[in-house]
Symmetry: C2
Subunit: 327 residues, 2 copies
């Protein structure tokens, strides 16, 4: 987005500098994987939001660079360890850290990266550090809790939609809220403004995740990077599946159980039949409604913010841009 | 030690409270292992030193309780993950976290425990938080680096005694220094006093570790909890082995290589022969000398401290008590 090109440039420069520093550290076995996973890229939305959260209040965004880097390091730590937990061979099209260097290195460089995130955070201005530490750590715990809930879901027969919303809130949405709030802290924003910004980010994060579930099933092929129906094939407990099971009558419930346990069906047939059940239960509209609810909640919080009006509009536009993926 | 019985009582009470809090948190799968590993006990020397570091300057040691708990949580996080890395079935005579609950839970509850350590630290008085965060995080990175060095040593043919000292310094000694310094920070001690206390703890930690290596070989059986010669059997690169290899002539070097690679020798014969080589190379005296050097360095730093004289003497006595294991 044009409005953020200058902030984005600053961010990329700071990330590059951080990578250069990591390359100087030893033992290399622990620090090289940190440089590697940061180098795999990603959209850098979270650390960008930290700079945006600071810039909203007309403070020099450089004040928020340490917090932005801390968010990005934390996020990448969680990717290294999640990939171990998921036994994932690939991350952003490249081999995962544990595949490249082994599980021991994956575990330890992940640990080191989590501590490094705090190290970078500690370079913030001293008077902001206590508040930054509290929100960053509260969020870090929630991310771990969300990951644990996600793991638990794999072996839980009945997961409610409410549990699912709690899981995605913790696993992914709160970090977006935290990123924005940390920026606001570095601009010495009021607690009210901080909280509205946090809630804005959190609800955008929830909406984004629900839309992600929708995209897996309903995206137009060419606009979607991943295989369509991947969640259905892998029996992933998504908003759609959990809503559908919650709404299903006895015979539909039975059919879901069969579809989730049988191996005597082709992927294509499974996708087709699950989609038919989704259509019969109208869960697509339900998911859109839920995503819209959170988007509206997010914008309500944005409207409560006292900050630079033009910059608030840019943020609103950016959020729309984030969420505006064809479903 | 009598002088510390009151501090120890406060500490145990705080740890018990922390465990009660952990039992209230969910998901249980993530928090129960934290409660479990803390419950396995240990000497609690590190968090005790945090209270001692505060008490030395006649400040109410309760000020240092959050920092003390942070140290204990951090230490236990590192145990959970180290046990995964070492594939260890037992910790303090009980099954390890990953053996009890699986590797996934071990990884994630360890991560959560590391973040929880920061969470507890963030309950310290705000004006001390920036300094606490910096030393705690610097130390956390060094502990990870030390663990990585230790892992590297397993596949490194030639490890120098200097590398070994650096490894034990980072892996174990700095956390003792950090524990004391954090206590001093919570008593608003001067930077000079903080640094002397840190150096005292670090050098005591190094001396302790070298004495541990000595005990494995030379302890009187009944006074030593573990199997004598365990390090020799497992080819562990200890101060004794690395010093011996460094001093050995060509034929002795060759014999070491054979002893470290052959499987055609009984454990008892291996221990006997390695001990003979150690005797021939006089490495026992060398280790005692090195341990004494660090003990003296530690006490020099203690002498530079401006603090309550009686309490300084108690600390000196406690350090002697820690190091006074028969070798």
């Amino acid at each position: 987005m044009q409005a953020y090109s200058s902030l984005f440039q600053r961010l990329n420069h700071a990330i590059q500098e951080q990578q250069n520093k990591l390359r100087e550290l030893s033992p290399k076995e622990m620090y090289n994987p940190m440089d590697y996973i940061i180098g795999l890229g990603g959209k850098r939305v979270r650390p960008l939001m930290t700079l945006v959260g600071c810039d909203l209040f007309d403070e020099n965004p450089d004040e928020a660079i340490p917090a932005a880097l801390a968010v990005e390091l934390f996020h990448n730590f969680s990717l290294i360890h999640d990939d171990i937990l998921d036994n994932a061979p690939l991350r952003r099209g490249s081999v995962t850290v544990h595949e490249k260097w082994g599980h021991g290195i994956g575990l330890l460089s992940g640990d080191g990266m989590l501590v490094k995130a705090y190290d970078v955070l500690s370079k913030s201005k001293s008077n902001y550090i206590p508040d930054l530490l509290r929100i960053f750590t509260k969020t870090g715990l929630e991310v771990c809790e969300g990951q644990q809930m996600d793991m638990n879901f794999e072996t839980t027969e009945y997961v409610s939609v409410a549990d699912y919303i709690e899981m995605i809130t913790k696993k992914t949405a709160v970090l977006l809220g935290c990123s924005l709030q940390m920026g606001a802290i570095c601009a010495n924003a009021s607690v009210d403004n901080q909280n509205h910004l946090y809630e804005f980010g959190k609800h955008i994060g929830i909406a984004f995740q629900i839309l992600d579930d929708l995209l897996d099933v309903y995206a137009e092929d060419e606009k979607f990077g991943k295989q369509l129906g991947g969640d259905i094939i892998s029996n992933k407990k998504t908003f759609l599946l959990l809503s559908a099971i919650q709404l299903a009558n006895e015979s539909q419930k039975k059919r879901f159980e069969q579809l989730l346990s049988t191996k005597d069906i082709s992927n294509l047939d499974k996708i087709t039949e699950v989609k038919q059940l989704y259509d019969a239960l109208a869960v697509r509209a339900l998911a859109v409604k839920e995503a819209n609810k959170h988007t509206e909640l997010a914008f309500e919080h944005l409207n409560e913010l006292s900050a630079n009006k033009e910059k608030l509009n840019n943020l609103k536009e950016f959020a729309r841009h984030l969420l505006n993926r064809e479903v």
